[in-house]
Amino acid sequence: MNLLNISGSPHVHSDESTKKIMWRVNLALVPMLLCGIAFFGLNALLISIVSVVCCCLFQWLIEKYLLKVPTTVCDGSAVVTGLLLAFNVPATADMIWLIAIGALVAIGVGKMTFGGLGKNPFNPALVGRVFLLISFPVQMTTWPTVGKWFPMTLDTTSGATPLGIFKESGLSDMPSLMDAFLGHVGGSFGEVSAIAILIGAIYLLCRKVISWHIPVAFIGTAFLFSGILWLCNPEQFLNPVMTIFTGGIMLGACFMATDMVTSPMSKLAQIIFGCGCGLLTIIIRNWGAYPEGVSFAILLMNAVTPLLNRWCKPARFAC
């Protein structure tokens, strides 16, 4: 007879795995990719491909030659980083090569430096994005105009994002709310369509990859805070509905802030984390130098995550 296996209990597993979680996230990102391609054409597709390929390649190279550990590219986390990074840049021809630098920083500095998936304190895609924004401010804020659907050309004329328009010239030239909801506005190509983001987010909620706490707290705080400001002075501040449907709040709240690795674990901590993100975003948008503040807000709250994990313990049984 063959030898028996011995192990401690339990002897069964839910069959949940990191790999499954990551590929579910990738699936949830597909609607945004399709929307990006629909509005910004070939550029969006090429940027996404370059970004994903570079992220996977850099992770593989670092694991094989620097860390000398078995590769974990198949777990799909590098693909998530690649897609999210691509979604956070303007769909211009310049970005097709710049995104490779972003991928190197995201994977190399943002993730592998700390020991790979699970060890990184900051969201790698945001680390890559902020690096690009600071190093290449011109290219990162040159927005393609959105004109017709499915523009299959690499040439783009430069336009502006709703938040940029608002910062420069006030309410007069703002796009309609419907355009902002569908995504027919300027901006990073993954963040423009609120409807695509919501489809992805609902899928993730149903598959229990994310919980509602962070997105609701994030968007809710942003809505409330900007609403208070708007009530104080509707001339100076953007109304709360436009606030949450423009810029990166939707994408950030549903996909970036909910990154398991860099967000806190207990429900209370997640709500505090979401509120902090919302508050910081509105502060940066209204009083900062940049028209958009989601990336910085999430990165700042990422830094607070270990503290939140320490302070907000789960409620113990009978305590």
Binding site: M1, S9, H11, R316
Partner: protein, 443 residues
């Protein structure tokens, strides 16, 4: 429908042996009766080599407080008193008895007649539980006479009979409910009387609707027996969770159920109590489920204690399938993997669960992704991921401060971990380290 409030998981139920009626396992040629089959000190043998014993005869005595009597499960001759490896491979003392015929003690009532009336006083009931060597059959094998001797200053208000059977695969309690509902109710009534509480609550998970129906019907004939349907959620049958589900009370850290006025016994124990008190039959048999997804047949057996796992497998299956990867005593969540199939069964045994090679392998461990699933699955509200890191780095004191000793080892954390981290193993190790550290502090 009642349930515990915090954490929990829902493993695949796999109750595939529900249709198998309880069969009587034939007598083996020899049994080995271990001297520690219960929580506490081993019993002391009172027979010697060559002695003739009958079924139900006292062969080892409880000489310390935390101990239980042991009776001969067979009739025959004592072959030797020697070291015997138990099913995890630890050496224990055992009395080996060569089986000759099947001669029972005269005092034992072997008729199937139901005996409802019990005229014993509470003290006499407890004394008889001790005499009959009754221990808790839910897994911990806590001596029943100690549990039912309520300490000075404490008062029992609730008696809870655990028939949740929340572990996957196990069906022995279910079969006992279907085949002996009256006996179980009498047993529960006797325990209720011993404690002097108004009601005995029998908690049954709703994946056993026929058992709930039958028990509810039967309970109508008895005073103070309440059937409580429970939500199907693991670990519904864990002591603290079950108390929380049925009474809403919470046993604080480091306290016992009696501190919140509760006493919990397993359904199997209630059945054993009936046989002991009403029929004078000591605890010499148990009901075992023999099951496994890849097995040709599923069984529930009534077996004499002390029969080896190999004897059971030989009778039930002929031999283990070629592809067997693991054999477990108990359920898949908290059962122990058997390393020694030549070991004898003990009072607490509840199943022989055969797992296929593929089911028996764990997936490789990957990095923790801080998803918090372990924390949300933990029915005690602990942080398994944190213990894992603390224990690996030998930070024993901090593990203690984060209440690692509250862990009930239910396995929900490992079960839900997407990184396949052996969290339950690490916590078990951590608890031992903490206990060793606490012992060292005392000296």
């Amino acid at each position: 429908m009642k349930t515990f409030k915090m954490g929990g998981v829902h493993p695949e139920e796999n109750k595939i042996s529900t249709q198998a009626a309880i069969e009587v396992m034939p007598l083996p040629k020899q049994v080995a009766v271990l001297m520690n089959q219960h929580l506490g000190a081993p019993a002391t043998p009172i027979v010697a080599k060559g002695d003739k014993v009958k079924v139900g005869q006292l062969i080892a005595e409880a000489q310390t407080f935390m101990c239980a009597n042991i009776h001969s499960p067979v009739s025959g001759t004592v072959n030797k008193i020697d070291v015997c490896k138990d099913f995890v491979g630890l050496p224990k003392t055992a009395i080996y008895i060569d089986v000759e015929g099947d001669e029972w003690m005269e005092i034992i009532d072997r008729t199937p007649d139901l005996k409802r009336e019990c005229n014993l006083e509470p003290k006499e009931i407890v004394a008889k539980l001790k005499e009959m060597g009754i221990v808790g059959l839910g897994g911990a094998t806590f001596p029943a006479h100690i549990k039912y001797s309520i300490p000075e200053g404490k008062k029992a208000e609730y008696l809870i009979i655990n028939a949740a059977e929340c572990e996957p695969y196990l069906t022995s309690d279910y079969r006992v409910m279907l085949e002996h509902p009256e006996e179980v109710c009498v047993g529960a009534s006797i325990l209720r009387k011993a404690l002097g509480v108004p009601n005995a609550y029998i908690g049954i998970e709703t994946n056993k609707p026929d058992a709930i129906k039958l028990m509810t019907e039967t309970a109508k004939k008895y005073e103070g027996i309440v059937i409580e349907p429970l939500k199907v959620k693991y670990p519904q049958g864990a002591e603290k969770q079950l108390i929380n589900a049925i009474t809403g009370r919470k046993v604080p850290s480091g306290k016992l159920p009696i501190d919140v006025g509760c006493v919990v016994s397993n359904l199997g124990t209630a059945f054993a109590v009936y046989e002991a008190i009403q029929k004078n039959k000591p605890l010499i048999e148990n009901i075992l489920t023999v099951t496994g997804k890849k097995l040709p047949s599923q069984h529930n057996y009534q077996c004499r204690i002390g029969i080896t796992y190999n004897d059971i497998i030989k009778h039930a299956l002929g031999e283990l399938p070629e592809t067997t990867g693991k054999v477990i005593s108990g359920g898949t969540m908290m059962g122990k993997a058997i390393s020694n199939l030549d070991a004898p069964t003990t009072k607490g045994a509840s199943s022989v669960l055969v797992m296929d090679e593929a089911e028996a392998r764990r997936n490789p461990e990957t990095n923790c992704i801080r998803c918090g699933k372990c924390m949300h699955a933990c029915p005690m509200g602990l942080e398994p991921y944190l213990f894992s890191a603390l224990v690996k780095n030998n930070r024993v004191e901090e593990a203690k401060e984060h209440n690692i000793l509250d862990c009930i080892e239910c396995g929900c954390c490992y079960f839900s971990c997407p990184a396949n981290k052996p969290l339950t193993d690490e916590i078990r190790l951590g608890k031992n380290k903490v206990r060793a550290w606490l012992a060292a502090q005392k000296h």
